[in-house]
């Protein structure tokens, strides 16, 4: 499998259209989901995907090897998504101090989470904290890195994540309530 991908990767470096299409078919589904988790819109996500794959194929020489390609491609997609949000939506982060310790969500609260639909979570989470939340949870970025990527302060990044957590707890609660109502 790895050898196969290595072979495809090598052909893609030589701008082989078939190899490029194979790579596209391998990663497009996942990358589309990643892009959509940021922009909340299927069409916008597809636009991002087109530019991201175009960048990836034209600058494939910059990628060190076939093993790092999936992460490299994902980085492009995430960056493009963030840039898209920056351009289309005027995001303004209020320089927030870190919330009081009392406001921190307790681990117990987070432990009792019900089953949830991630798509619903991501589509309903406000854009303000979703970027920080995505980067922190799904891209495993540290607050310092997030601050650099989004051009905000580290404190803002932390407070945004805290807001996201709060929102998530609230979301779970309402979901439970909805289920209860339905029953």
């Amino acid at each position: 499998m790895q050898n196969d991908f290595q072979h495809i990767f090598n052909r893609a470096i030589k701008q082989d259209r078939l190899a490029q299409k194979t790579i596209y078919e391998m990663f497009s589904g996942k990358m589309l989901a990643v892009a959509k988790s940021y922009v909340n819109n299927f069409d916008d996500a597809e636009d991002i995907l087109v530019t991201a794959f175009f960048k990836a194929f034209t600058k494939i020489e910059d990628c060190r090897d076939s093993k790092s390609f999936p992460f490299w491609l994902r980085k492009i997609v995430v960056n493009d998504s963030i840039n898209f949000i920056r351009k289309s939506k005027n995001l303004l982060y209020v320089e927030g101090e870190i919330e009081h310790i009392g406001d921190e969500i307790s681990d117990e609260e987070m432990e009792n989470f019900p089953d949830f639909d991630l798509e619903k979570v991501l589509s309903q989470m406000p854009l303000g904290y979703k970027l920080v939340f995505n980067l922190y949870v799904f891209e495993d970025k540290k607050h310092q890195e997030i601050a650099e990527i989004l051009n905000i302060s580290e404190g803002t990044s932390k407070s945004q994540l805290n807001k996201a957590k709060k929102w998530l707890v609230e979301f779970f609660r309402t979901q439970e309530n909805e289920k209860f109502v339905k029953k």
């Binding site: 589904g29 299927f42 996500a45």
Partner: protein, 233 residues
């Protein structure tokens, strides 16, 4: 955040997949093709530049070579203009020699003439002195003596005449060596040329300033009423 929730979120996120619309690949492909066409165009342009650069290189090289060749062909002209003078100098030496020789020859001929005259006088004196002897024998003797006298000086002179000729030959042999030496410009000539150039430049500088503009040192330079430069200092 508890790791269990984070892990669950992450797992779900990583397993997420969307099915893109069918024409999405075509959109990417068309973009790639457009970029490749652009690349080809750029490559062609670069090639043209290369050809243009090579052409320019060749032309400039040709000009440089031509210039140097011209310089080389000009140098002989310079040598040629000077060579006649040198040749004249060379020629002057043989001419002088010839002139020196000519008097000798003339002297010889004069001597011969003198001899002839002397002989004739002698003959006449002989004729007058020895009238008693048989006229025939006398005339024969006289004729012989005349012949001998006439021939003798010639015989005596002939080596003298030939000697300078022989002396001329080594001079002719030495000539090519002298020629090679005279190809060089003498130090005096060079110095003279330099002096002429110097005086010409000085004259030009005195006549006009650079680029035909007269730049004379101002006696005083004032900026905002403050004397920045004055000639008196």
């Amino acid at each position: 955040m508890k790791n269990s929730l984070k892990n669950k979120l992450k797992n779900q996120y990583e397993n997420q997949s969307e099915i893109p619309t069918e024409n999405l690949w075509e959109r990417i492909e068309s973009q790639l093709e457009n970029s490749e066409e652009k690349k080809v165009v750029v490559a062609k342009k670069i090639n043209y530049w290369k050809y243009a650069a090579i052409f320019l290189m060749v032309v400039s090289l040709g000009l440089v070579v031509n210039y140097f060749l011209n310089q080389k062909s000009v140098n002989p002209e310079f040598v040629n203009t000077e060579e006649p003078n040198l040749k004249q100098n060379e020629k002057s030496i043989p001419i002088e020699e010839i002139e020196n020789i000519q008097p000798i020859q003339i002297n010889n001929s004069q001597e011969i003439a003198i001899n002839k005259t002397s002989n004739s006088t002698v003959n006449s004196s002989d004729k007058t002195a020895v009238k008693v002897n048989d006229e025939k024998t006398l005339t024969q003797n006289n004729q012989k003596s005349i012949v001998e006298n006439v021939i003798k000086p010639e015989k005596e002179d002939s080596p003298k005449v030939i000697v300078p000729n022989i002396e001329n030959k080594p001079v002719l042999a030495q000539q090519p060596i002298v020629k090679e030496k005279t190809k060089y410009i003498t130090a005096n000539e060079l110095l003279f040329g330099r002096e002429v150039d110097k005086s010409y430049k000085e004259q030009q500088e005195n006549d006009e300033g650079k680029m035909g503009v007269n730049l004379r040192k101002p006696k005083e330079v004032k900026i905002l009423g403050i004397t920045v430069y004055s000639d008196e200092q």
